[in-house]
């Protein structure tokens, strides 16, 4: 179906899926880790003095 160079086409789509998929998974895991760390600190009663600075 993909001709004589099908392996190259499949490898390209697989590489893209791997790179973008890895980026998505890393982003989700990082976000969850920050949410956990924030909840942990706030759970121990640590609060910001105020303001919205990043």
């Amino acid at each position: 179906m993909l001709g004589p160079h099908g392996a190259f086409i499949l490898a390209s789509y697989a590489a893209m899926a791997l790179i973008v998929g890895g980026l998505i998974v890393a982003s989700i895991l990082d976000h969850r880790a920050q949410l956990r760390a924030l909840a942990d600190l706030e759970g121990r009663g640590v609060r910001r003095r105020g303001g919205d600075e990043a």
């Binding site: 993909l2 001709g3 004589p4 160079h5 099908g6 190259f8 086409i9 490898a11 390209s12 789509y13 590489a15 893209m16 790179i19 973008v20 890895g22 980026l23 998505i24 890393a26 982003s27 989700i28 990082d30 976000h31 920050q34 949410l35 760390a37 924030l38 600190l41 706030e42 121990r44 640590v46 609060r47 910001r48 003095r49 919205d52 600075e53 990043a54």
Partner: protein, 247 residues
């Protein structure tokens, strides 16, 4: 209005509401794009079925340049206005740009082997894209080197702006030098040179990948804001423990 939307707390609110819609739109467009790219688009008269690699290679190349330009705009925001969200945007954009540049290099090499007979040649386009990838790596490494976030932001912004000189070189390398890589075939003054049966899948995939990248950028910006809040709270807790120990 922009100042209000760029307030970190307001940004967290509106981006949180927008993300589910962006994810749904991205998935829908990706499904349509993959269907058109892999099943509907005809084989090219010269490249044969290998043309299907172009439907992911070209959007990756565009996004590699787009995200470096986004980083450069954010760098100006950091250096001139010192807006906290500009630095957050720059830091969130770097891994996404690096990933798409890597994807561009890998898919390009996998297209090159059957079409050119080689995975790699040191021509101006390929080499300048490799330099772009190394610039992304340098920016990411510099962030890890400097602990103080505001000092890191300024240093990275300067490096980003110096590296921006490579962006027009990547874009116009095929015009300025004699390269094995083909010249632009979509964004041309005399219009695209691609047949609509291949142009449509390419444009759908380009929009889908752009939406995916924007969604990831917003998500990573939210994470970066949380990371800075965690850092602030950690410092506050350390100060509180110091005061308690001293009392």
């Amino acid at each position: 209005m922009w100042t209000k939307l760029a307030n970190p707390s307001v940004f967290l609110r509106w981006s949180g509401a927008a993300l589910p819609w962006l994810v749904a739109l991205t998935l829908g467009l990706l499904a349509v794009g993959l269907y058109k790219s892999l099943l509907l688009a005809p084989a090219d008269y010269q490249q044969g079925e290998t043309v299907r690699i172009m439907f992911i290679h070209v959007p990756a190349a565009w996004l590699a340049l787009f995200f470096y330009s986004t980083m450069a705009a954010s760098a100006i925001g950091t250096l001139v206005w010192r807006h906290p969200l500009a630095d957050v945007s720059q830091r969130a954009a770097a891994p996404i740009g690096a990933a798409f540049t890597l994807a561009c290099l890998v898919t390009g090499a996998l297209w090159g082997k059957p079409m050119w007979g080689t995975y790699w040649v040191w021509d101006a386009r390929l080499t300048s894209v490799l330099v772009l990838f190394l610039m992304y790596c340098g920016v990411l490494a510099l962030w890890r080197t400097i602990e103080d976030p505001s000092r890191a932001a300024r240093a990275v912004s300067i490096l980003t702006l110096v590296g921006f000189v490579n962006v027009p070189i990547v874009k116009f390398s095929v015009d300025w030098w004699n390269t094995l890589h083909q010249p632009a075939s979509v964004f041309r003054l005399d219009g695209p040179t691609i047949h609509p049966s291949m142009l449509h899948p390419l444009l759908v995939m380009a929009v889908a990948f752009t939406l995916l990248a924007v969604t990831l950028h917003l998500q990573r910006m939210r994470t970066e804001i949380l990371r800075r809040r965690v850092r602030t709270l950690t410092i506050l807790e350390a100060e509180r423990l110091d005061r308690r120990a001293a009392a």
